[in-house]
Symmetry: C2
Subunit: 145 residues, 2 copies
DNA sequence: CATTTTACTTGAGTATACTAAACTATCGAG
DNA sequence: CTCGATAGTTTAGTATACTCAAGTAAAATG
């Protein structure tokens, strides 16, 4: 049965296309979006960001400049270490990037009302497992380089 | 309830990270991957590819050069019109890009065995609807520019 | 304190992928 | 068969985002 494979490809294509559209709309490159995604977990120092993304510190400075210029993040001093710069996403209310994803979330939530609580539980379980599989496969790719 | 939102973001992040890992592993840029994705539907002429991706013909020539160099596509003459070049993905057996997605599909299929046929039906339905939502949101973004 | 290390920025040089426009080959219409 | 239109390539110029190395400021070490 190859149906699940086809469906999976369709889903991943749709997700990637959505991200591309978001990036184009906001004038933010794919790489910059990756940084935004990481920052959704909370503020990071410029150095931590560099390590996560695999760029040199100099490149990160430029990237944060761009994101700051687009109003998507702020630079804030680290109160505990004045050498550091904390890169923090701007508040959701003023952050177009978050807003786009909020729209998506709303549409998804509306769609989910079609399902009974029991069905929603199955779906949620499935999504969790899918995320695990994707992370696993991603790890396999990055390690085996 | 914001659970579905968080779950959706996690899923989209996981998908995007996977694609990035694939690209890095194969030495193929995100844009080039988009072309590969389009070509999974079958061969396209260079011009059609240009229109789909929104690039100039010259840019597509370079892109196809790269993909051909990586062994992911072939240029073939169109028998009906010798001006045209059909860009065709190489056979799955020799196509590392497809293989990566095959691995993912296999893992997904294995994971799906956890669910009963009835549950699988619900999940499949959900994925279909999710794809629709994503396409809808993508369209909204690209139009409203 | 003086010295070394760490965090980030700056600036010069470079690689990549794009556009625009000229060029070649082929097709289709009159 | 000739002429304009179409498909793709080529070339020159450009924008972008990167690396590497030097520079500045602050913290940690001894």
């Amino acid at each position: 049965m190859d149906k699940s494979a086809a469906v999976g490809r369709e889903l991943s294509t749709a997700v990637v296309m959505f991200h591309e559209a978001v990036g184009q709309k906001l004038g933010v490159s794919a790489g910059d979006q990756r940084a935004l995604t990481l920052l959704r977990g909370g503020p990071l120092t410029a150095g931590a960001l560099a390590k996560e993304i695999g760029l040199t510190p100099g490149a990160v400075t430029g990237m944060v400049d761009r994101l700051e210029g687009a109003g998507l993040v702020r630079r804030e001093p680290d109160p505990n270490d004045r050498r550091r710069v904390l890169v923090t996403p701007t508040t959701p209310g003023h952050n177009a990037h978050s807003n786009v994803f909020t729209d998506l979330s709303a549409a998804m939530a509306a769609m989910m009302t079609r399902y009974s609580p029991a069905e929603q539980k199955i779906i949620s379980d499935f999504v969790d497992r899918t995320v695990d599989v994707l992370k696993e496969q991603t790890a396999k790719l990055t390690v085996k380089k």
